[in-house]
């Protein structure tokens, strides 16, 4: 999938949602729930049927920890700096 295939449905959704603002109630909870379940099921399926990935799984642990902690560290630091710069209480 390319950039356009991924971003078109998102932009189309935002535009449609904007026009639906005047409508009274719009509940998408059930639809979202089932889409997520199907999506995560097929993610699991793709991972499970990928032998190369299953072999490399022990290495995923270390990568996850490093990425997680660096992401959180820089997020916190950058927010701290940004708050000082714009003087946000």
């Amino acid at each position: 999938m390319d950039l356009l295939t991924i971003l078109t449905p998102l932009v189309a959704g935002v535009a449609l949602g904007y026009f639906l603002r005047k409508r009274r109630k719009l509940s998408l909870n059930k639809a979202t729930f089932w889409i997520i379940i199907i999506l995560i099921f097929s993610l699991g399926f793709s991972m499970g049927s990928n032998n190369k990935l299953l072999i490399s799984f022990p290495h995923v642990g270390l990568k996850t920890i490093v990425m997680l902690f660096l992401t959180l560290f820089f997020s916190i630091i950058f927010v701290k700096i940004a708050r000082k710069v714009v003087n946000l209480q």
């Binding site: 950039l3 971003l7 998102l10 959704g13 449609l16 997520i36």
Partner: protein, 202 residues
């Protein structure tokens, strides 16, 4: 919700593994390509509608002032920097690791989308890194609040608009509600864009 997500991931993994052992290639193509891509597009579309229809968020922005936008953009920049540095540190593809970290905690998107863009190993990383981000935000909130008043919001990333919002409000106080929600809202909205834009760097 988390219970059902983990269950469907596990079930998918087991069925995928068994299917691979039995060699039903047609089913694999159907689920891994068609169903996967269809559900990903459907999720982006439905989330788009949810973002677009949300009238209150626009009003909250007007009230809170646009200065509040520095918070989500600092979080986005921080997350991507963390991804870049861990890419070099682990000597793995830094572009893909930036994209994984640009999920900002939205694991139901970051997992599948990175899997689609960079291959299934990155899909697994996208899921675990962002899933644990949400979990760690909740688990460490009483400690992170001591580092900075906004640290739980920074950790929560995109999840600050829904799943981690109650915990953040409880520890950061009710005046943090609008900041946390708007920051999570913006990060959720830009996550698909930043992930796909980072992917074009390859």
């Amino acid at each position: 919700m988390i219970r059902y997500i983990l269950l469907s991931l596990l079930l998918g993994g087991i069925i995928g593994y068994l299917n691979n052992c039995w060699g039903f290639h047609v089913i694999e193509v159907f689920v891994s390509d068609y169903l996967f891509n269809f559900a990903l597009v459907a999720l982006l579309f439905v989330m788009g509608i949810i973002f677009g229809v949300d009238k209150e968020s626009t009003e909250r922005f007007k009230k809170a002032g646009f200065r509040i936008l520095v918070v989500p953009f600092a979080i986005a920049l921080g997350s991507i920097t963390g991804g870049l540095i861990s890419g070099f540190l682990l000597s793995i593809n830094p572009v893909a690791s930036m994209a994984v970290c640009a999920g900002y905690g939205w694991y139901t998107l970051a997992g599948p989308l990175n899997g689609q863009l960079f291959g299934m190993e990155w899909g697994a990383l996208g899921f675990t890194v962002n899933f644990l981000r949400e979990l760690l935000t909740i688990a460490t909130v009483s400690l992170s609040i001591k580092i900075d008043k906004y640290a739980p919001i920074a950790m929560g990333g995109a999840t600050a608009m829904d799943t981690t919002l109650p915990v953040i409000v409880r520890y950061c106080g009710s005046d943090a509600l609008i900041t946390a929600f708007l920051s999570g809202f913006i990060l959720s909205l830009i996550a698909p864009f930043t992930i796909t834009l980072i992917a074009t760097l390859i």
